[in-house]
Amino acid sequence: MLLFGVYREFAGQAELGLELPAGSTLAHLVSELRSRSGFDRLPDRPAVARNLTYASLDELVEAGDEVALIPPVAGG
């Protein structure tokens, strides 16, 4: 999965591989991530993109999906 901005600093890297059981949702992915060191500052329900589109945390993650965590944005 892809990490940007301040979330990337939590991880110390821009990409992260995660192994998730089949049938996992984006919410599962987030909670798995929050258990890792550095990610305790990740919000409960961060914005997440799946395949370049904002996605609901209820959505299932499928093999080959491009998932990205979207920190609060600051464009403009």
Binding site: L2, F4, G5, V6, E9, P43, P46, A47, A49, L52, T53, Y54, A55, S56, A68, I70, P71, P72, V73, A74, G75, G76
Partner: protein, 149 residues
């Protein structure tokens, strides 16, 4: 009604509102509104010396195209263009340019405003400010809300 021309760009090159406007407007357009966001020398009282914008580039191009297209559907415009810069920017440089061209001014203003507000809400773009004392901070004041996702 014309099908509006839509342009959306994420680029590391300097932005030029006048150039984008010249590219987009036609002689059917009596009103052109160009909005430019520029790097200010301070933020919440702290002197800023430089900025760096980072995008989720592939998604940002898609989201920016969606935003410009939405404005093109909502308002009677001939063209809507938006460009956002990435990388390091000096004080005074443009970080974002929005151009809206329309037969009449109300639509041009409304479309322009719609685009910049939506950019602020949901363009996947982040800003790292660098301060006079050498420290830096990631700005991220606007969590993307459910309805904007």
């Amino acid at each position: 009604m014309r099908e509006p021309t839509i342009v959306a760009e994420i680029t590391a090159e300097p932005l030029n509102g006048g150039e984008l406007s010249a590219r987009l407007r036609s002689t059917e357009d009596g009103a052109v509104v160009v909005f430019e966001g520029r790097v200010r020398d301070s933020n919440q009282g702290r002197p800023v010396v430089r900025l760096r914008y980072e995008a989720y580039a592939e998604m940002a191009e898609r989201v920016l195209t969606e935003i410009a297209s939405e404005a093109g559907s909502l308002y009677e415009v001939g063209a809507v263009g938006a460009a956002h810069r990435t990388g390091a920017l000096e004080l005074g440089e443009a970080s974002v340019v929005v151009v809206a061209a329309a037969a009449h001014r109300a639509a041009a203003y409304d479309a322009s405003r719609y685009v910049i507000e939506a950019i602020k809400q949901r363009l996947p773009m982040w800003k790292e400010e660098q301060y006079a004392d050498g420290s830096t901070a990631w700005l991220g004041e606007r969590p993307v809300e459910g309805e904007a996702r």
